[in-house]
């Protein structure tokens, strides 16, 4: 049982880092609560794997400390930390049966034989693997192998946290769903801290209670899936989360109106103190932008409509700027002209990429 504290952690792969550009991981302070389900989300090269390796003990950070509860483990090797890890490509011991694989970590820790047998049986039934316990692990499918990797972590009673490094990469879409809900159910019943690293937003959002979004070596936002979806703190988060991502349009703000080119959009808040010299952008998610017949809402030109099966997504242009919007069922369009209905409460203003809170007053603010 442990919470994991990252205290002023930073890492550079070169020995003599001079400026922030040399850091693969910029300073991060974070506490992973005991029993939480976390995701580290970001594109390749954002530093998430470096952070994972620091937690698992494969990399010693250049600066800062990592604490398990109050114990400083910064310089402890992997085997001395109470963690388990599931890797991108399934790792099983080929010559062993599933049973021997699951028993391996306990055998190494010299647990009594009956105790091992009991733990293995218990975990196997949790993972729905009781039927294949005596099969050779090498001959199983990729998803079964991933379950074995996970099981080798679960059998240990001392495990405080399980780290997942893009564990569903080689799993077929249909089986991904099963494995994901198995993970969720295990997390709920076992009170383990789980940290899940991925570039796939769906995996991150569906798995985690708290998602840490990383970009360019730093954390850009930490929050629940709803927070990340409804109030992205940075245009990167808006773009990276959501499919399609948030529409980010260059804008001018005048009082409670935003101007995109010469198209005016009503805002729910005022932004009196926008920093001068920064790029001002308006962000609105496609989910809060609905296509309507021409003449209603903001005028747009429809370029294309994509049918993704359960919904239709329109690719439109607002004053020449590309954006995506939802097409409601039964909407008939004449030509490529249409209107766009926006939910003013879901429109955000960004200065230099960073969310500006705005003031929910009635005052007509002068900019």
């Amino acid at each position: 049982m442990a919470s994991i504290t990252l205290d002023g952690l930073a890492h550079a792969y070169r020995p003599d880092p001079r400026g922030p550009q040399d850091y693969a991981l910029k300073e991060i302070n974070h506490v992973w609560r005991q029993g939480g389900a976390y995701a580290l989300l970001g594109p390749s090269g954002c530093g998430k794997t470096t952070l994972l390796n620091i937690i698992s003990g494969l990399v010693v950070p250049t600066r800062g400390k990592i604490l398990f509860d109050d114990r400083d483990v910064t310089h402890l090797p992997t085997e001395a930390r109470n963690i388990a890890q599931v890797f991108q490509f399934p790792v099983v011991y080929d010559t062993m049966t599933v049973r021997e694989n699951l028993a391996f970590p306990l055998k190494n820790r010299r647990m009594p034989r009956e105790e091992i047998a009991r733990r293995v049986e218990e975990i196997a039934s949790r993972l729905d693997m009781s039927a294949v316990l005596d099969r050779k692990a090498a001959n199983l499918t990729a998803d079964a192998k991933q379950k074995i990797s996970l099981g080798r972590g679960l059998v240990r009673e001392d495990v405080a946290a399980i780290l997942f490094d893009e564990p569903l990469t080689v799993i077929d879409p249909h089986l991904k769903w099963q494995l994901r809900s198995t993970l969720k159910e295990l997390h709920r019943t076992l009170d383990l801290t789980m940290i899940y690293v991925t570039h796939d937003q769906t995996e991150a959002l569906t798995f985690a209670d708290t998602v840490v979004v990383m970009h360019d070596g730093g954390v850009v936002q930490t929050g629940t899936p709803e927070e990340l979806f409804e109030r992205p703190a940075h245009t990167f988060v808006g773009h990276f989360i959501g499919s399609p991502g948030m529409n980010v349009l260059p804008a001018r703000v005048e009082g409670r109106r935003a101007l995109i080119g010469d198209v005016a959009i009503e805002l729910a808040r005022a932004y009196p103190a926008l920093p001068a010299g920064e790029t001002i952008e308006l962000g609105v998610r496609p989910e809060f932008a609905t296509l309507a017949p021409a003449g209603t809402g903001v005028p747009v030109a429809v370029k294309r409509i994509d049918d993704i099966g359960r919904a239709r997504i329109a690719r439109v242009e607002i004053a020449g700027q590309p954006a995506a919007a939802m097409v409601p069922e039964g909407l008939a369009l004449n030509g490529d002209e249409a209107g766009l209905r926006l939910d003013p409460r879901q429109i955000h203003i960004y200065a230099g990429g960073v969310l500006v809170p705005g003031e929910a007053t009635n005052r007509e603010g002068a900019s």
Binding site: P43, S44, G45, D128, A142, D172, P173, H174, W177, Q178, R180, S181, T182, K184, E185, R188, H199, D200, Q201, T202, L205, T206, F207, P225, E226, L228, F229, E230, H239, F240, I241, G242, S243, P244, G245, R285, E287, D306, D307, I308, G309, R310, E329
Partner: protein
């Protein structure tokens, strides 16, 4: 060109990789091969390319039999899941390499490479080597090299599988337009139903080496010919319930009995499979008093197993029937995709609503009874 496969099958060491597949791909078309790993997508592509010969059946190009003609004599280009480029050559030289082999004049090569680079947004990187590029740019280079040949047949084997989610999204959006501007026969293998839908064109759904359906993508998605196709072409997985219809009632495996409505009302008595996609399920907490009075709505009792929230939508996994069947048994597990955020406690009782208009009904042999045609939107 048109590429036609006539009753081809392929057996390797007594294992059947492809079973009696007939398929006709028209000039300028984009064709998606959709199926799980080992469903036969790669085997089929190798056969189309001429890398393998079919065990039985024929391969025709423009009506001419080319079965057994080697890949070198065919006009084929391939893109693989791994980013395959010449690491020592610049992006320009990588794209130019197939043209140099054809000994085209210098000016022609330059024009074609620049055109392909523009199409794939590689112009700023032409003088770099592939390893100095991002994964997305590396795969763009490989695709440009395949296009620049102007081959009659371009095969792409899960080309986006190794890319980051967002890069995949970006490239997936561009690909149909890139393909449309060239006019070859494109074949694109993927495991992901969403990818097939976004690419459009035609879809061939494959399961265990069999071609279960081939047709325009939207049509295959909305009117799957059989249960296998519907399962291959559903993400989240298709909710499939085995039912027995007798007279005016329908008995479910879970023991529940519901009135035979919609498509179920008109089919003869017998065993059927009811298929409903996740976004067509509606869920009500039992406590909610107001009742939906749409005609013929089917209501089923279930318990919440897992909730997954994406921020804008929720995936609700539920187990049907009594508490003792509450395992991960696939037949009793339902998945609903609900708009908005719904955090329901595991074990909470819910009612699942199925609008009969959205039912895909398959007979005992797995064939679509066809009554759902035009209904499931």
């Amino acid at each position: 060109m048109t590429l036609e496969l006539v009753n081809v099958s392929r057996t390797v060491n007594a294992a059947s990789h492809l079973r009696d597949i007939s398929l006709r791909l028209e000039n300028g078309s984009l064709n998606v091969l959709l199926g799980a790993t080992l469903a036969g997508k790669t085997s089929l592509m190798r056969l189309m390319a001429g890398l393998d010969a079919p065990t039985t059946g024929r391969v025709l190009v423009d009506g001419r039999d080319v079965t057994g003609l080697s890949v070198k004599k065919r006009s084929v280009a391939m893109v693989y899941q791994q980013f395959i480029n010449y690491p020592a050559l610049t992006v320009y030289e990588n794209i130019a390499s197939p043209l140099r082999l054809q000994r085209l004049p210098r000016a022609e090569i330059e024009a074609r490479v620049n055109e392909a680079a523009r199409l794939l947004k590689l112009t700023p990187y032409l003088e770099r080597t592939p390893l100095a590029l991002s994964g997305g740019q590396q795969q763009r280079t490989a695709i440009a090299r395949a296009l620049v040949k102007r081959a009659d047949l371009v095969l792409l084997d899960e080309p986006l599988a190794n890319l980051d989610y967002k890069l995949r999204e970006e490239l997936r959006e561009e690909l149909p337009r890139i393909f449309a501007s060239t006019g070859a026969v494109f074949v694109y293998a993927t495991t992901e139903p969403t990818e097939a839908l976004l690419l459009g064109g035609n879809t061939a759904s494959l399961m265990e080496g069999r071609l279960t359906q081939f047709g325009p993508t939207a049509q295959v998605y909305r009117h799957p010919a059989d249960l296998a196709t519907a399962q291959v072409f559903s993400d989240p997985p298709l909710n499939a319930l085995r039912v027995v219809k007798s007279g005016g009632t329908v008995l479910l495996e879970s023991g529940a009995v519901v009135p035979a409505t919609g498509a179920l009302a008109t089919v003869p008595d017998g065993t059927y499979t009811v298929g409903v996609r996740a976004h067509h399920l509606e869920v009500e907490t039992v406590a909610r008093a107001e009742r939906d009075h749409r005609p013929g709505i089917i209501r089923l009792g279930a318990r919440v197993a897992v909730t997954e929230v994406t921020g804008s939508e929720s995936f609700l996994h539920m187990d049907m029937g009594t508490a003792d069947t509450g395992s991960a048994d696939a037949g009793h597990r339902l998945t609903a995709l609900l708009p908005g955020v719904h955090r329901l406690e595991p074990g909470a009782p819910v009612e699942v609503l199925i609008d009969p208009r959205h039912i895909l009904l398959f007979d005992a042999a797995g064939n679509n009874t066809g009554t759902a045609l035009g209904a499931a939107a």
